[in-house]
Amino acid sequence: MTSVVVEVKDLVKDYDGFRALNRVSFNVYEGDIFGLIGPNGAGKTTLFRVLATLLLPTSGTATIYGYDVVRDSGRVRKLITYLPEDVGVYRNITAYEYLRLIAKAYYTSSSDVEECVELGVKLLGLGGRIHDKMKTYSKGMRRRVQVVRALMVRPKVAILDEPTVGLDVIYSQSIRELIKEFSRVYRTTVLISSHNMFEVEGLCNRVALISKGKLIIEGFTEELISKYGVKNLEELFVRFVRDVNA
């Protein structure tokens, strides 16, 4: 029996009178690659920001490894990494320098830092270009830097908001492979949001669909497809979102 890593209970988040999350509850288990899907404005980013200790819930609770994201935010931040959607890079810093900065935020001993940076360099696979300023990188390379940054510190939980958004097929595939491989080797629990149903279906063992701030369905990807008699996740998505909007 795998243990619960992320526990979200009756989570509500209001913004200026607008309810972005409405009593959302779900669990994520150790080693899961958990896909959060939903249309634009459904509340995916808000939910991830709450889990990443950036936003305070209006009511309800969210815990990571038993630590409350509000009360124990300092401890939670040691366990997680967060990749915001569309995050940029420091234009005049090299990827190597950036990875080193991040490693030093998580590790104190120089051997741990070196090991972490070494892993980052390996995962990034940029060769000599790792010492170039990041402004010279393509969009795909920049995104890969950020994904590697979020994984190389071997977090207990990696929260990745649309990690492949705007990337071409080759870069998207390389990032998916990276996440899959990393989760398998290091047992990192990964939460991913994406609009690419093909990506979620291939990558995530469990999914949750939210729309208008409410959790619609949640469960193992394959079981859900089979249970609702649809060909794929995309069909499932369309059916449920259409029902909610109807």
Binding site: L54, L56, R77, A105
Partner: protein
């Protein structure tokens, strides 16, 4: 971790040419300005050393005034001299302008009697200038010194007058005026103070403003970019305190600002040296004209305090810039906020430029010393005429504390929840503003 954050900030800024270009421009512009102004001054100085056309209104008409007029003619300082007896000042000025005279000397009625009674009479000398120039007003100084010397000489030759050394050295009270016929204005003032104050009151604020605007905008832009690019979101989820994140930004920006400020200060020093060297090389008697190097007026201790104050002021500017950047969700908002903030910050500087700080109410004066943005300006003016006060160290510490408190308060804002609210509010304000 703070060290790494500072390194990151420093490298990111120092490698960006957009950050360096304004610093380099300001470092080059000041010497270039000095070069241009000094060449203009060269012309002006050569103008004052060439003989002048002098109109003398002899209202006393005595042996002494005749002695003065005769000797003025043989000094070589006078190209054309005309003696009139006009007591009406306006008429006298009209005559001078219509006949092309550059200097008017008024020998008042009773001048001789006052001198012979061992008292000091008033001597009015008017420079007639076509435009206001600091250097042109020096002609009055030349004639003031000359007439003082001549009267002193006359007194020494006159045996029935009781003499004191002071009286011989300074037998008249000179009233220097500058008449600008184009706007029909007469300006009262000593050229010595005029030049010194203009040096310190105008140049120092200009230099300060250049540094200020550059530092504030750099810090604001770099922090706003973190918001815009969402890299701040990443930083806020790292296991690092918010105060450390901001302090890293502040110290990194400040290190770059300091290098840039040093470039500006070096440019400023070259600028001042150009003034001094030109004045000294052109006229060996410059000291008599009342123009001296700005540095000879500031004592060493005062100069050290002034530099420390400038550095701390840059630090405060960087802190303010970081705060503006934190409040701005993108670079355009940061620029929009920066402009009025810069204006607000430099406005008290204008006040200091044009006020006599010696006459300021002590509360206001201390307030100007406490605020890091006005401190270097008021200090620059005060140390021209007095030694730094014992409280100066306290003012410097206050300036430093101001920056730290500002960053501490801003770090309280740096909770994403609050930040989003404040940024939305600022965005709404900006939309309202534009």
């Amino acid at each position: 971790m703070l060290k790494e954050l500072i390194h990151k900030e420093f490298k990111d800024l120092v490698r960006d040419p957009r950050i360096w270009i304004p610093f380099i421009i300001s470092a080059l512009v000041l010497p270039l300005t000095g070069l241009i102004i000094s060449s203009g001054m060269r012309e002006s100085i050569s103008g004052i050393t060439t003989p002048s056309n002098v109109l003398v209104s002899d209202l006393d008409n005595t042996q002494l005034t005749k002695y003065l007029i005769n000797n003025l003619n043989i000094t070589g300082l006078v190209a054309k001299l005309e003696v009139v007896n006009i007591s009406d000042m306006e008429l006298l000025k009209d005559v001078a302008v219509s006949r092309g005279y550059e200097v008017i000397i008024i020998l008042t009625s009773g001048l001789t009697n006052t001198v012979l009674n061992s008292l000091r009479p008033n001597l009015t000398i008017i420079d007639v200038v076509k435009s206001v120039s600091f250097i042109q007003s020096l002609k009055s100084s030349i004639f003031s010194s000359l007439i003082s010397d001549l009267i002193g000489d006359y007194l020494l030759k006159t045996h029935n007058v009781s003499l004191t050394l002071d009286l011989v050295k300074q037998p008249v009270n000179t009233v220097s005026l500058t008449y600008i016929p184009t706007i029909n204005q007469t300006v009262v003032g000593s050229s010595r103070i005029f030049v010194q104050v203009s040096m310190t009151s105008i140049l120092m604020p200009i230099m300060f403003m250049i540094i200020t605007i550059t530092v504030l905008q750099m810090a604001a832009t770099s922090t706003a970019i973190e918001n815009e690019e969402k890299t701040l979101e990443v930083l806020l989820t790292l296991p690092v305190s918010r105060f450390k994140i901001l302090l890293g930004k502040l110290l990194g920006s400040f290190a770059v600002a300091l290098l840039g400020s040093l470039a500006s200060i070096i440019g400023f020093i070259i600028y001042i040296l150009m003034f001094s060297s030109i004045l000294q090389s052109m006229t060996p008697t410059t000291e008599e004209f009342g123009i001296t190097s700005i540095f000879s007026l500031i004592n060493f201790e005062g100069m050290v305090y002034l530099i420390v104050s400038l550095v701390l002021s840059s630090f405060a500017m960087a802190a303010l810039g970081v705060t503006i950047g934190v409040l701005s969700s993108d670079v355009r908002i940061a620029s929009t906020i920066s402009s009025p903030v810069v204006m607000l910050v430099v406005l008290p500087g204008y006040y200091i430029m044009f006020t006599d700080v010696g006459r300021l109410d002590s509360t206001l004066k201390y307030l100007l010393y406490v605020i890091p943005f006005t401190q270097p300006m008021i200090m620059a003016k005060e140390i021209m005429f007095s030694s730094p006060e014992g409280l100066t160290v306290l003012w410097l510490v206050t300036s430093f504390m101001f920056s730290l408190v500002l960053i501490l308060l801003t770090s309280q804002l740096l909770r994403f929840e609050k930040l989003v609210r404040v940024q939305r509010f600022v965005s709404r304000l900006r939309r309202g503003y534009t």
